[in-house]
Amino acid sequence: MTIGETIRIEGGRVLATLIRFTGDISLAEDALQEATIVALERWTTDGVPANPVAWLTAVARNKALDRIRREARRREKEIEADYGRGFEIEEDDSLRLIFTCAHPALSMEARVGLTLRLIGGLKTSEIAGLFLLPEPTIGQRISRAKKKIALARIPYRVPSPHELPDRLAGVLAVIYLIFTTGHHAFEGALDSRFDLSAEAIRLGRLLVGLMPDEPEAQGLLALMLATNARHRARLDERGDIVLLSDQDRSLWDLKAIREASLLIERALRRRRAGPYQIQGAIACLHGQARSDAETDWRQISDLYRFLESFNDGPVIRVNRAVAESKVFGPAAGLELLEGITGVDGWHLYWSTRADFLRQLGRESEAAAAYRSALAINMNDADRRFLERRLASLSLA
């Protein structure tokens, strides 16, 4: 690992402690920045110290104190009183930072930006690049969020046990949103923001390390690993979508699937099932099947049914319809799609519906459904796939 990488990866932990110490995110970021410059110089000649986190934290702490004195915001005595007491790196600092970044009082966009910047250690320009947004937009989002944290006093703490399930779900949602944004680009090339998925997996690993007793954190990491494991097989050399059933399974990352499966087994043993564990288990079942024919669709459709007991949204219903159609045929799948509302603007609903109708030989209805799907914004690969499907209908 290069010195730069070491600093980026360990920087989040240093920052977490500095924020607790100074109570000021921007001051902590500046102090870490200054300490980083010293580290790059010093470590290049002397080598990376045995404990880079402690080293960086100590230097950054002094930089922060220097700045507080220099700006003379307080008298020396007050500074002594406020900052003179024992200063240690606490195990919980990283978790405090994660929960603050994902605080429900911040907008989802602000949570994602803060998480990537403060925990992921990404620069504003890098985040802007990942989301294909102008740098000032991201910069403004982050600075507005930091200002709100300071002025509205969003607390810097790990939620108490009774709040934890809700608040943890919020943290998981931020990480999963980062993952899906990378994994399935909303528009443009499907893989255009793939680095975001890798970043989300890194955040997921960090969270599992910090909260080893939370099965949903393990479930999320397993879901991301098992989904990501198939990514090399999902596009052909032209960048067109290859359906799961047609994928070359030798391109799958079996090591990642094994890791995901172990995580799920460990999580499920705690008998506190949740939506991420179930989705992770589904992704693992797909990953473990050596061919499409060997896929355990019955168990997958049972798991979707179980998932609906946590979240009865349309996305899960459509996925369950696909699984049930594999067991009971396309008519059963189509029946499950009847009565879903709020999906008119979702192209995967229309394309799933179209596929069932196509299998049932109802070609003119299938063509109409493909056309409804194509009327919606989507990434290039999805669009080309649907256009091919529509063209393949005999009447089209």
Binding site: R73, A105, A152, R153, I154, P155
Partner: protein, 121 residues
């Protein structure tokens, strides 16, 4: 400890029946008693309807022409109907109290920190 304003917004109009009215009052009394006992309430008022409001604007800067307009500054579906001033340790605590104000289920409550002039530079 920071001070928060909990601004209560709800739809106006519609005559409440006496039973409904006493139910609302009972809910507010319950909140006031609980928050009062915890020592977080530093003030608060209920406001008359926006139809009783008069907006004042001094045109052209200080000392300029005083213009009165009948009604509230912003005509919106949900109007400010009252507020509490809550002294809390942090936003989580303030949001916790705000969720117990009857206005939170009868309308919405906006929580905003008050400017702390002793910290301002």
């Amino acid at each position: 400890m920071p001070l928060y304003a909990a601004l209560i917004y709800s739809e106006e109009g519609g005559e409440a029946s006496p039973e409904e009215w006493s139910k609302v009052m009972a809910e507010y009394n319950e909140f006031s008693a609980k928050a009062g006992a915890a020592g977080v309430v530093e003030g608060g008022e209920a406001l008359e309807e926006t139809s009783t409001a008069t907006t004042v604007h001094v045109k052209g800067g200080k000392g300029g022409e005083v213009v009165h307009t009948d009604g509230p500054f912003a005509e919106t579906k949900e109007a400010l109907g009252g507020f509490y001033l809550l002294r809390c340790a942090d936003l989580d605590e303030a949001l916790g109290w705000a969720a117990q104000i009857p206005g939170a289920w009868r309308g919405r409550v906006e929580v905003r920190p008050c400017v702390d002039f002793s910290q301002a530079q």
